[in-house]
């Protein structure tokens, strides 16, 4: 019988990811990045703080918990969770430093970062791919989507590593071509491929669960998977074509990506309509707002392709801050509360009164902070369209306040501070580190 364990290191991955989010927003406040400045070293530093340190670290950490649930089997090689986390965190920090400092420092920081990130992704794939790639779990679309996303990590890393090497002074042919005029391919593979497809896969499992909707892997979802698979294949193939001096078919890739997003949106609407929980909770309401950001990004895509410049920047920002970050921030509170409840209260069910999962968090606080985040994301998107660096700095204030506020709320969830004192056990597990001898269960004799 399959069962699911709590992942020992997932909360540590979350904590590291939140650190990078806060760091990125502080860098923005101090003038890094912004409209017309993303191609500067400090701009690259911020973008990678967000895409790698925040979003990728968050997604991989969540998958360590989520993949075993999806595949109904224990995580393969789970002992690699900590080394992978250390490699990803130090790799991202090294990359950010490499972008921030030019000259001799970058010459060894950037290749070092590429190596560390290669190790991090490699270890993550060793844990996640064998867990998901079993015939029983491969019958449904969600593990297939996540495997597709994980496969694209390799291409994101290859494109990024060759560019990092070229920037550091070691010329690599593919890196030169990407840096010359095909940098968007790296962004498309990372943002549109790895992160967005993984988000699709996770949401098909989480949304029916939180909305109490039937789990139905129907034609719409399978069609979306097919189109996404085709787009992913073309995206990955485009990188290979570029390596052999052929022009990648970017318009076709854009068209298929747009179709995949539309099919995903239709599937999400179907799940929403079929829900039994008529009043959606905060995490789901803000996940819906994240999807509106996704549609906004899709609407801007033609302008981003034809006009480039401000519209391309606005599209990327809206997808990073609006779509992926809002979705992640909306779900993290619910996931952490759920994990905390399972860890602390599951052993007491049927023996003493236990609180509801919802009691562990403050819905009002989360709701306010998530609205604040979305407000900042809209402001940031507008600042790119009108190319206003000062408005962008202003937008970073609500974004940072919301992120810090949500960190405090997560800490309150882990410390059970939203519960009355008499409901809190005398000893609580560590906030984000695994408890020594943490799970002494299933002693069945």
């Amino acid at each position: 019988m399959p069962n699911a364990e709590l992942s020992r290191w997932t909360l540590s991955w979350f904590a590291a990811a939140l650190f990078f989010l806060a760091a990125a927003l502080v860098l923005i406040l101090f003038g890094a990045g912004g409209p017309g400045r993303w191609s500067e070293g400090s701009g690259f530093a911020v973008i990678h703080c967000i895409a790698l340190g925040w979003l990728s670290q968050m997604m991989l950490g969540a998958l360590l918990q989520f993949a075993p649930v999806l595949a109904a089997r224990p995580l393969a090689f789970s002992c690699l969770a900590l080394p992978a986390l250390l490699a990803l965190s130090t790799g991202t920090a090294t990359l950010v430093a490499g972008f921030q400092f030019s000259g001799d420092a970058a010459a060894f920081l950037l290749p070092g970062a590429a190596g560390l990130l290669g190790i991090a992704f490699g270890l993550s794939l060793i844990m996640l791919v064998p867990t998901l790639a079993k015939s029983a779990s491969l019958r449904s679309s969600e593990p297939q989507l996540i495997l597709l996303a994980l496969g694209l990590i390799i291409f994101v890393w290859v494109s990024g590593a060759t560019m990092a090497l070229t920037r550091s002074g070691t010329s690599v042919s593919l890196g030169e071509k990407l840096l010359t005029d095909r940098e968007p391919l790296h962004i498309i593979l990372g943002l549109g491929g790895w992160l967005t497809l993984a988000a699709f896969g996770v949401s098909y499992k989480l949304f029916p669960m939180f909305l109490v909707a039937p789990e139905k892997d129907g034609l719409l979802r399978k069609a979306g998977l097919g189109v996404a698979g085709l787009a992913a294949g073309i995206g990955a193939g485009a990188l290979v074509l570029l390596a052999f001096d052929y022009a990648p078919p970017l318009p076709l890739l854009g068209l298929l990506s747009a179709l995949a997003v539309i099919l995903h949106f239709a599937e999400t609407c179907r799940i929403w309509r079929s829900r039994r929980r008529k009043i959606a909770e905060v995490n789901m309401r803000h996940s819906l707002i994240a999807h509106l950001f996704l549609l906004a990004g899709l609407a801007l895509l033609p302008l981003a392709i034809t006009e480039g410049g401000p519209f391309a920047e606005a599209t990327v920002f809206i997808l990073l801050a609006g779509w992926l970050s809002t979705l992640t921030l909306a779900q993290i509170g619910k996931i952490v509360a759920f994990m905390t409840w399972i860890e602390i209260f599951a052993p007491h069910i049927g023996r003493s009164a236990v609180p509801m999962v919802g009691d562990l968090s403050s819905a009002r606080t989360s709701d306010f902070l998530l609205w604040l985040w979305s407000f900042g994301a809209v402001l940031g998107g507008i600042s790119h369209v009108i190319q206003s660096p000062s408005l962008f700095r202003v937008a970073a204030i609500p974004l940072l306040l919301a992120a810090l506020g949500l960190c405090v709320e997560l800490w309150r969830i882990r410390r059970l501070l939203n519960l009355p004192p008499q409901s809190r056990p005398p000893r609580l597990p560590p906030v984000f580190l695994p408890r020594p001898n943490w799970s002494k269960i299933r002693e069945s004799a």
Binding site: P2, N3, E5, P74, M209, S439, S444
Partner: protein
């Protein structure tokens, strides 16, 4: 028929360190060559594991050694798909008595179904059976049932929209 040499897994040191061996045992079961048995050394009789392994197509031969260690040989009955999911009831569930309680937990948000099953089963006598209907496979419930010494068997309906779960009350830890 000659069986291949069994893969031996001693989880006594892991248990002595206070670590949970379930994932290690499942990983070892995944590594087995076709037809290869798993020889497990454990300081106690791992009753619920027999059910888990039965569903993966293994039958168990147990032996308590003089030194107190239980030596359990899990022998594959037929070549099975290693990732076999929870389809079909436990091999011995057909011999369980009729359920004394039936609860419909469909439409409840997680982890409410888990709470309700644990609350209900805690009120049953040892050996009594609970039948529950759920929206989805309650993956976080199973470790808690095992910890409390209960046995369970479950499968998805043909349409895949309802999970049917039988739980037989065991000794409370």
């Amino acid at each position: 028929m000659n069986l291949p040499e069994p893969l031996t897994l001693d989880v006594c040191p892991q248990l002595a360190r206070g670590e949970e061996p379930f994932a290690t045992i499942m990983a070892a079961a995944d590594r087995l060559a076709p037809g290869q048995p798993l020889r497990l050394l454990v300081p106690f009789r791992p009753a619920p594991l027999f059910n888990v392994m039965a569903k993966r197509g293994f039958h168990a031969k147990e032996n308590r050694r003089d030194d107190g260690i239980w030596e359990v040989l899990f022998i594959p009955q037929t070549p099975v798909e290693p990732a076999a999911a929870a389809t079909g009831a436990a091999t011995d569930a057909v011999f369980w008595p009729d359920p004394v309680r039936q609860i419909d937990l469909c439409g409840l948000p997680p982890p409410e179904p888990m709470s309700r099953v644990l609350e209900t089963i805690s009120k049953l006598e040892i050996g009594e059976v609970l039948f529950a209907l759920l929206d989805r496979e309650p993956l976080f419930l199973f470790p808690e049932l095992a910890k409390r010494g209960h046995e369970w068997a479950g499968n998805l309906s043909e349409k895949g929209d309802v999970y049917r779960l039988l739980v037989r009350a065991g000794g409370q830890e």
